[in-house]
Symmetry: C2
């Protein structure tokens, strides 16, 4: 596989697989991937990662270099290594589509497969859903805070690695961002790419004014001038001089960028100065350590800012840099017929057993009222959220284009009642456990406690 991703897994996935191979080769298992607890200041999650997962599972196979490496470890039997050579995922995958909204304890993925196949996916699935769901959720909060103003992903330099940088641009776009500064992401995902200029660019000319003139001559219709390298007010004045010169020639200065200082008062000042000079069409972009909290404050203060560039805090989800994602066995079958529900009992970490589905109850206008987590097959009014993606190893889901995913995400966001969209206030959305699921959980708990005595 490309980049040896078949061994992007924890060693225990393979050692457990060896044991299963020897003792329980025909066991079928169902695993749920879900978030146990929503992170700090998150009232909902917006899901992403499925596209990458479909691609991974479809191409999953163990190549020679990986097999050779495993053989060197002197841990695995030749029979098992041989099995890996012919390995393909032949099971089923159910999932929430990208852009779906979910809450704690709701399965984002449900894997039904031979226990070895289901086990060997664990690390990749967790890593993928963790990063992408975390980032789309964070980005959607920033989109909400910006109240219709454009937001751009400026996070490349501070994301945790290259894979994150690329996925972050895509996830920010799904979460409502208008584009990215990351050229590779633009290339890979056909996302709009944008850019301004750096302080070093301004500094590399004799004067700020000459740097502005040089840039605007190369990009007369697409210049956003960075005005805070030396003195911001002076910088705005220089930008106005360039804007007027462009105007004479029939061009429009696109914007100025504020990257430090008191953004609210500077933006008001800049707007006034630009308008007085007859440059009311010149946009003001703000950047510099922004997040949804700061943007909410800026928007509430009616700062005349047209768009935001957001980097670090979105690109690392800095206030909650991971999700409490877990991958739990929910049922098992030794004979491929009878399925036994399973769950974990250890302290404060109880999970729900059985093959489950989620139903969302909406009001007449489409707004979410509550979700019901139930056993698959229960008759519940509402829309089931988990979709069938892969059946017997074959992809049967038609994966939407990125633009459609973004539209779906934005539609979902609009149907979350306002109280859950608060940036700072914790409001718990009701996820009701169906009576049947509750009964199963209770009975199984008793049963397991007896069995382990």
């Amino acid at each position: 596989m490309k980049d040896n991703l078949e061994i992007f897994l924890d060693l225990y996935e393979l050692t457990m697989a060896e044991v299963y191979f020897k003792y329980k080769p025909n066991t079928l298992a169902t695993f749920d991937l879900f978030v146990r607890q929503l992170p700090f200041n998150r009232n909902y999650l917006m899901v992403a990662g499925l596209s990458e997962i479909i691609d991974f599972i479809s191409n999953l196979k163990f190549d020679k270099p990986a097999i050779e490496y495993l053989r060197e470890k002197k841990l695995f039997s030749e029979e098992f290594l041989n099995y890996l050579k012919g390995f393909r995922f032949r099971g089923n995958l159910w999932a929430l589509p990208e852009g779906e909204i979910c809450f704690a304890n709701e399965p984002i993925l449900r894997v039904e497969a031979n226990v070895i196949e289901a086990q060997l996916l664990e690390g990749f699935l967790l890593n993928t859903i963790n990063l992408q769901t975390m980032i789309v959720s964070k980005a959607s909060r920033i989109t909400l805070a910006a109240k219709g103003r454009d937001v751009y992903d400026f996070s490349l330099r501070r994301t945790q690695g290259k894979d994150a940088a690329i996925k972050v641009s895509r996830c920010a776009y799904i979460g409502g961002f208008a584009g990215t500064s990351n050229v590779l992401s633009g290339f890979l995902y056909h996302i709009p790419v944008v850019g301004t200029m750096a302080h070093s660019f301004v500094m590399s000319f004799d004067t700020e004014l000459s740097s502005f003139f040089a840039y605007s001559e190369c990009f007369p219709e697409r210049s956003i001038l960075l005005v805070d390298t030396y003195n911001t007010e002076r910088g705005i004045q220089n930008a106005i001089e360039v804007g007027l010169k462009l105007k004479e020639k029939g061009f429009k200065l696109l914007g100025i960028r504020l990257d430090s200082g008191d953004i609210i008062s500077l933006a008001k000042k800049a707007r006034q100065m630009l308008d007085r000079a007859g440059l009311n069409y010149v946009k003001i972009l703000a950047s510099g350590n922004l997040d949804e909290y700061k943007i909410e404050r800026i928007v509430k203060a009616r700062a005349p800012i047209d768009s935001f560039g957001v980097g670090t805090h979105m690109g690392t989800s800095s206030d909650s840099p991971y999700l409490d994602v877990i991958y739990k066995l929910s049922q098992i079958s030794y004979d491929r017929k009878k399925f036994l529900p399973t769950m974990k009992l250890s302290q404060r970490k109880v999970t729900y057993p059985g093959r489950k589905q989620i139903y969302r109850i909406r009001d007449r206008r489409g707004f979410f009222i509550k979700d019901i987590l139930c056993l698959d097959g229960e008759k519940i009014k509402g829309t089931p959220l988990l979709k069938e993606i892969i059946r017997n190893g074959k992809v049967i889901y038609s994966n939407p284009a990125l633009k459609e995913i973004r539209e779906y995400a934005m539609k979902n966001l609009s149907f979350i009642p306002a109280e859950y969209k608060s940036i700072k206030k914790k409001v718990v959305y009701p996820v009701v456990i169906s009576r049947n699921l509750e009964k199963l959980t209770k009975n199984l708990k008793r049963d397991l406690m007896d069995r382990q005595k």
Copy 2:
């Protein structure tokens, strides 16, 4: 380039390059990459990322797909796109070796090159140093807290993407970890790989005991049994039963793993039970949401834990998930002879101008006393820390093997005076600005303020 990494950059790097290409094609620039402020609870940083940077710069070229994509953007001149086709980095790179200790404002990298070449590296360099230096620094704190006990990287599932997962294993190893659960990292970097078992594995058997027996039969010398799926004390009892059976057959149970509950009292209980059963060689591994703060508490409480598995908090540096890394122009030459120092003046973001070097002053035993940040060429007693890595585009630095980097890192860690190694107390290490550098900064500030009037 592999994975089109030549366009892993912010769009503005290319638009600024187009302007330089047109107006200042022969300009030489010096850029410093450094951390402006140490993050919360970090008294030092341990550097990493140079190996990946050397590899990137040596292979950097613009391939056809990238050029085609840029042409479609309708931003760039054909002359500039042609220039990109022949692009190679022909400048110089100075850097702190991996495993070096550094502090705020000290250059980690110094790039001296044609301004276009230096500019086009910006995004890649920042992203690489940000992730890797952040993680090695975090890992080294955990190593310190563990006071000689082995620590393993269990972070694969919660790191921010695949690139991060792989780099994290390598960085954790440099920072003193003993190995990783990540098989791909083991494959790529020859790091020891380790593993235990999952709760789902225990749950997939009728009883906990039968799951332990199955596992230990496959791996009689390498079993670490997870004892907290149902009831931890009962789990330890089951592990003892398996341990005794292995003993009869001449094998040694390797360990048990505690993953939830009150680790300190459970470890004491487990040690007692194991010892009483004659299994004093069976190790106790603790995992589950650990970080340096929890490990310090566990170690102080004299919990008999032999090793720790650390995931999320190390793998995302969760208490400080980014560094304040910046890439700043420090001097420029239009004629390739006379270099003009430069700096940024905007509010609270002043940087130091000129070509700089760092000297570390140590006491007789080797312990760090203070650093001196000065202009290159100043006569200072002490060791200069920035090493020459690339000269005129050619790598002249012999990059050490990973094991040597780790040894170098551990040696450096041992020479940091104890006060700066406190996990929670902020103690600022003295970085002195040389008189010459201070004078230059002051004069240039005045000069720039005059010039912009």
